[in-house]
């Protein structure tokens, strides 16, 4: 490993947040091209499946993390639970913010059909969403954070899958429609 690669490795080790290419280049007083080369070398060293630590590209930057192979032992050593799972309400609010951002609380409530204060509050507390200005009527708007990208292993926001893939299939849609109109009809005849 050359000196630049060693320095880049040390910076990623120290930094709590993913570090972008330009910040790495700036800190190392090198060109981005040189840093890219060093990262390639590091990537060889940290190739997944060989080491306990892996090099990852998330939230618009580079970072080191443990390989899941160590998860069981890490839980024993640190006595710290892994990221607690989301409740269904939190997951729905997060999905709405992730895909419709920036989005206000009333808009979230409209999609879910139910007020969503507590779930939104928890997501704010957990740092997965944050404020992003105000709507025309003064309502606070929300968007996802870098931590969200980090926790979900997303390189960037646009690496979320296309939301259309979550739509019910035309067959399911048809079925839903028929049931809406006919669910009661059968009952009224029986």
């Amino acid at each position: 490993m050359n000196e630049l690669a060693r320095v880049v490795e040390a910076l990623l080790f120290l930094s709590a947040e993913p570090v972008s290419l330009d910040r790495l280049a700036d800190a190392c007083e090198s060109s981005e091209g040189e840093v890219v080369e060093s990262l390639a070398r590091l990537r060889e060293h940290y190739a997944e499946g060989y080491r306990g630590v892996v090099l990852r590209e998330v939230a618009g930057g580079f970072t080191l993390s443990t390989d899941p192979v160590a998860e069981h032992a890490a839980r024993r050593l640190l006595a710290k639970p892994r990221t607690p799972p989301l409740t269904p309400a939190q997951a729905e609010c997060l999905a709405i913010v992730a895909y419709l951002q920036p989005v206000s609380r009333p808009e979230i409530a409209r999609v879910r059909g139910v007020a969503s204060e507590s779930a939104v509050g928890t997501l704010l507390e957990r740092g997965m969403i944050e404020e992003s200005g105000r709507s025309r009527f003064g309502a606070v708007l929300y968007r996802t954070t870098e931590l969200f990208q980090k926790l979900f292993g997303l390189e960037a926001l646009d690496s979320l899958p296309d939301v259309a893939q979550f739509d019910p299939s035309p067959g399911e849609e048809q079925e839903l429609r028929e049931r809406l109109l006919k669910a009661g009809e059968a009952r009224s005849q029986s």
């Binding site: 709590a16 990852r56 997060l94 879910r112 059909g113 009952r187």
Partner: protein
Amino acid sequence: MSVGASLDLEMDLEVFQGPFDLLLTLVLREEVDLLELQLADVVLAYIDHLDRAGELDLEAATEFLVLIAALLELKSRLMLPGEDGEGLDLEPGEAADELLARMLEYRRYKSAAAFLEQRLLAESGFRYRAAPLPRELRRASLDLAEPVYDPLSLGAAIGGLLRAPPRLELDHLATPRVSLEGRLAHVRSLLGRLGSFSFDKAVEGADRVTEAVTLFALLELYKAGEAEWDQREPFGPITVRAGSNPDRGEG
């Protein structure tokens, strides 16, 4: 997938007696008048039902909430007065379309939520280091600080915070300064001049009441086939165009 049918909820209301899913169908086919239905009673019946069941079926509960919210929205739209005193009638098919659209939109985000839950679980084995920085790196160094922010942004932020929202006064409702005729004329003139424009353009600089009345005006023009509009995504921009067919059928 289940709609209502999974609820198994018996209603005993002033205007209707029977299962909830039947009520839903009758409402959609306009055999029960939504205006005469006390939705609060439906909610109370549902709460009783939950009490008796003794446990909360989350799946069925969210389904119910989405349905009741959609019914509330439909009903509130029926209650808005039209220019000639008629309600903004929805065909039974259209009402079902509305409900269906709401259900589909909700299902989209419910599936996306399931995806996110999975993803979080799969990612949770990648732990990041959270050790504090070595002491010498902990404080941001003053020598390395350069002016990067504009002080005027602070003044602007305070200015924004000094702005209180306009108070909603009831006198405004008694003597509305915005007339439907006025907004109709405004929208017609935009249509005439531009052919197509965005809703934002039609209400540029307008207050909340004017925005609402402009929306009514558009609904009227839509009904008369004078205008059409589309909105690609929820909360996205609304584009208004001149209507081509005064007897606009299925869209």
